[in-house]
Each structure stands twice: as structure tokens, then as C-alpha cells.
């Protein structure tokens, strides 16, 4: 078992004919993910992946024709909000937006619109999801994790790969890895994901990887102490980050005294979460 994506996922790729879209569609298919359709406006009727995946002009047409239930977005930042709105209006249940650099005003509108609908967004600016041996939706390398009972949730990309790989090297497997993304406003946060892991019978332990900026980790800590009975280990990046500077991720910034790594670590420790000093310590804390 797992959360969000699995063998039943019928995936649609928005921006499938672009360079990134094609590249990662191939990787997802090779992993065993069921990619049933692609969307690029103006290219409906074409086929990609050696004639295995049909391309449609709109998400709605693609969904009706193929029964897709999940959409992953690989379009440039300026078109990302439109792509998310289109996916949400088509009736798919889950949208994963990989795109980095989406304007924050777009994300405020997206998030407030999606809150009125029965649809979940992961990202943007995220590596996507991986349920080892079942489905890979996004750009997480498939070979760095094995199936198991550890749920992983993270705001980061390569840092998460590090941790997945370290777990794999110790033969520790993962139920699902969720990259929630490094933007200040995203579709799914730590609490949402912790809730899903807590309910998932096959997730027994949880790894949470946070970073400076915002107060999501502090809120998650409160949620953990009230609602999460499964053991949680965490790592927070950015202890040495100077205030007022954006550390690569749009959301990774200490502003007006909030978003400090120390505050997050303190809050997590108070919630009896084991916090690693560096990422290689994580497996030993589980």
C-alpha cells in the first residue's frame, strides 16, 4: 500500500511534447507507471513514445478518452497556473506540478480556487511522487528507493534523493515519497501528507525533510503531537542561511524573524520528533 499514487494511477502528462515532458515521460513509463495520455494544445492527434501515448488538445478531452485520474504538469512557469486550472476543471483527482518559478500571485489564485474543489495539488516546484515498484509521477529517480514501510515527505529535491538512497543502502524501503515542493504557497503541505501517512496501514514510520522559511514545520509539529502516533524523524536544512536571502527555493527565506531553522527544530523536538543533525543520521533515528 501507499498514498496518492500506485498501480491504479492512470497518468496524463501536460506538456508531454516539450523537452522535459518527453524525457520524463519515458522514464516514468520505463518505471512501470501507466501513462495513458498527453496534452499539448495544438498537437492533438499526434502520438509520442513510439506510438504508445496519444496526445490531446485539452485535458478534458484526454480524460474523457482515456480515463486518466492524475495529471502531471511539465509546462513552463508562465503557463503553469492555466495548466493547473485546466486540470482542476477537467475532474482529475490529483495534479502534480513539477514546474519551478510559478509567480506567487498565480499560486495564491490557484490555491484559493482549488480549495473550493475536490482535487489535490502537489507542488509546484517539486520532484513529484514515488511509490517504489508501483508508480513514479514526476522526476524522482526510480532506482534510488525500494518498497517498504517508511513514508517520506519533503520540501526539497536532491536532498530527498540523498535520504532515499541512504535508506536503500541499508535495505530500508519506502511506502511513498512525496515532494511537496519549495515554493512559499503550494497545494499540499506537511500536515496534509502526515495525515495521509498516519491513515495508510502500510506506512509505519515517517521521515520529514523541511527547510527554512514559513511556519509549515512548526504547524506540522503541533499536528504530530496531537494526531500522529507513528514515529517521525526529521531533518531541517538551512541552519546557516543568512536572514533576508532566498536560498534557491522561492520559499526558503527567513523574513522578519520567522522561518528560522532553530525554531522549527525546537518545535519538532517538543513534539517528540527525532531531529537529525545531518541527513546521513536519518536512518539511525528510525
Amino acid at each position: 500500500m501507499s498514498i496518492l499514487v500506485n498501480k491504479k494511477t492512470r497518468l496524463l502528462v501536460q506538456g508531454i511534447t516539450g523537452k522535459e515532458g518527453l524525457f520524463h515521460t519515458e522514464k516514468m513509463i520505463n518505471y512501470g507507471t501507466r501513462v495513458v495520455a498527453g496534452v499539448t494544445p495544438g498537437k492533438g492527434g499526434e502520438w509520442v513514445m513510439n506510438g504508445k501515448v496519444p496526445v490531446f488538445d485539452s485535458v478534458k478531452i484526454a480524460k474523457n478518452a482515456t480515463g486518466a485520474n492524475t495529471s502531471v504538469i511539465f509546462v513552463p512557469a508562465r503557463f503553469a497556473a492555466d495548466a493547473i486550472f485546466e486540470a482542476a476543471d477537467s475532474g482529475v483527482e490529483l495534479i502534480i506540478c513539477i514546474t519551478e518559478g510559478v509567480p506567487v500571485h498565480d499560486m495564491m489564485r490557484v490555491r484559493n480556487y482549488l480549495d473550493q474543489k475536490d482535487v489535490r495539488l502537489i507542488g509546484p516546484n517539486c520532484p513529484g511522487l514515488l511509490t517504489p515498484s508501483e508508480a513514479k509521477v514526476g522526476i524522482i529517480p526510480g532506482n534510488i528507493a525500494i518498497p517498504g514501510n517508511i513514508g517520506v515527505v519533503s520540501r526539497s529535491g536532491t536532498l530527498t534523493y540523498e535520504i532515499l538512497f541512504a535508506l536503500k543502502n541499508l535495505q530500508l524501503g519506502v511506502s511513498t515519497c512525496v515532494g511537496i515542493g519549495g515554493d512559499p504557497i503550494n497545494g499540499t503541505n506537511f500536515i496534509d501528507t502526515l495525515m495521509l501517512f498516519q491513515e495508510d496501514p502500510d506506512t509505519e514510520k515517517i521521515v520529514m525533510i523541511g527547510e527554512i522559511g514559513g511556519t509549515d514545520e512548526e504547524q506540522a509539529a503541533e499536528y504530530i503531537s496531537d494526531h500522529v502516533t507513528k514515529p517521525v524523524a526529521a531533518f531541517i536544512a538551512g541552519r546557516t542561511a543568512p536572514p533576508g536571502k532566498r536560498m534557491g527555493h522561492a520559499g526558503a527565506i527567513v523574513q522578519g524573524g520567522t522561518g528560522l531553522a532553530e525554531d522549527k527544530i525546537k518545535a519538532l523536538k517538543k513534539a517528540r520528533v527525532k531531529v537529525a543533525k545531518h541527513p546521513e543520521e536519518i536512518p539511525s533515528l528510525l
Binding site: P103, V104, P141, P184, D216, M247, A252
Partner: protein, 377 residues
Amino acid sequence: MKLHEYYSKKRFAEYGIPIPKGEIAESPQEAQKIAKKLAGPVVIKSQVLVGGRGKAGGIKLAQDPKEAFQHAKDILKLTIKDLPVRKVLVDQAADIKDEIYLGITNDRSARKPVIMASAEGGVDIEEVAHKTPEKIIKCHIDPLLGLQSYQSRDLAAGIDLSRDHWRVFGKIAQGLWQAYIGSDATLAEINPLVVTGEGELLAVDGKMVLDDNALFRHPDLEKFRDLDIDKKTEIKAREYGLSFIQLGGNIGCMVNGAGLAMTTMDIIKLFGGEPANFLDIGGGASSEKVAAALEIILSDSNIKVILFNIFGGITRCDLVAKGILEALKHVKTDVSMVVRLEGTNAAEGRQLLKDASMETADTLAEAAKMAVAAAKE
């Protein structure tokens, strides 16, 4: 991207917000000319992107054009918090009766814009928020609906603004909202919004911060970027599409991924070293990017050692290793290097580097310890 007071206020004026008459000057002569044209007392204001300009002597009142010349001359010589004053704004002085704060920013945890007003204007609003949070009236705005008139009235009533001013205050709040939306701002702020002796409202100071990710929608605003607030290395890195921040230590960091780059800085510090920079070279770690990044890191003469920390996921580590070796052919340096490669084909990648007699590490902790030791040699 931060906008100077002058451009922020000009932008506000385009959205119907009343601002004092004024112009920008780059010399005392220009300041004198503007003061003459405005007639009457003027305020000479340094245009630098830091707080505390007044305390640093960067804002002065001049009674006549001659005094304007002198003040402009003094202020243009100043360096405020490491920033040289290159321009001054010469504004008609306002007859200030009351000072209000009015600002709109993104509330990250509410995922909505928030508009804030306070009767305690003209001072550092973060200090007011810290000491007397009850003096700030806040109202979240639905980004799909925009600012509603009743919300402006609630703010006006909340700060005990006289009812005579509610209509104009509402217009100003609406203008600020439009300026915030129309510029993709993350902050649009009037501090102070002044009630004058004549009973008018006037935006005496203004500030805007724009979302860098949205600048593609505002190509006209890019030219207002003040490069003085960024370090030269950071500007160069931006040209190469690299995310780079200089920190001041002596261990250079070259990492793929922002989270991993922060982690690398943290672990250097954890083992007793001082990271020199944050640097995310992105996914592929191509030889061109590595070469550009090396040049940027090495332009800091304090650098004793460079720590490469690359996780090869989709890009195989042997290819990353080849990229690093290729880049080192083009960048001459005798600074020591420690490389830590992990992920797909890591063993092959490490072997390639060892064959080229580079120091490699198996774990991040080991790499950090090696770099710290090398920096202390």
C-alpha cells in the same frame, strides 16, 4: 526585486494614489533646480534600498533651493549601510498632521494577500507588530475577488480614522491593491500615509518588492533593479542561471539542488568550518556550468578549499565526474578540492576522479570533515 521609493511612488500615482510633487536628482545642481521649480520647503531623500535612512542623515528638510543644494551635496556623499547614495528624491514638503501605515503583502500561511493599516505610521512597522500587535488592523483579501470596499472601511474604522477621510482612504487602498496586483508585488507599502494640515491624504513614502518569478510579465520594471544591493558574484551567477549567495567563510560549496546546498553549508559549520557560499548548480552539472561556478567561487580570495557535493539521480555520476574534470581543464587554480559523489553510478564516477588524483569522499559527513581539515592547513 526591490523598487526604490521614487519608482514605487510613481507606480502608486499611476493607480490614483496622491503623492507629493517631486523629482529625482543625481547632482546638487539638479536638486537645486527642482527645489526652485517646486517653490517652498522640500525634503531631500536618499534613494537607497535600506531602512533607517533618516537616522543615517539620508533625509533632510530644506527651506529654499540653496539649502536644497547643500543637503543634496551632503547626502550624495553618504554611504548608508554599505550602499552608496547615487540619487536623491526632491519632494515638496508636506504639512504633516497624522501619520498612518497602509500595506499589502502575501500572507504565506493564509495563502492570501493581507492588507494592514495602523494609526502608528512613519515608524518601523515590524517593531509595531512586535511590541503592540493590537495597533495593526489586518484583513485578508480573497485573491479571486479582490479588495472589497467594506474591507477598506473596516480598516479605516479600525485605526480610528476620521469619517471625513473614509472615502479617500478607500480609494487609496483600492489603488494600492491594484498596484500590488498589477506589479506582481510581494509587498506594496505606504509608510507614512499622511493626513495633512489641509485635511488631505498623501503617500509620503512608498516601497514595493516584486516577485522575481513574475518579472516576465513586467519587462518595463527590470530596468529599475538596483544592482548595488547584490554582490558582484551574485550578479554574475544570475547571468549564468546559477543560484549563488556569498556568505564569508573559506570553504567554497558547489552543490546540485537548493536543499542539498543548504545542507552542505550546515554540515560544514557542524564540523567546525565556515562555508563561503550557497550555490545550486542545478540538475545536470554540465562542464560549462561547473566552470562558470568555479570562476565565481574562486573570485573570492579567501577560498581555501572547494567542496563538491553532487547527487547523481537521473544524471549519472560518471557523467558528472567527467563534467567536473572537463571544467577543471579550463579553470586554473591551486585551491584544494574535495568531491563527494553519490547516487547512480557513484563508484564509476569516484574512480574517474581518483584516477585524476582528486580527493573523494564516500559520505557527506566525511567530505565535510575533509574540507574543514583542508581549510585549516
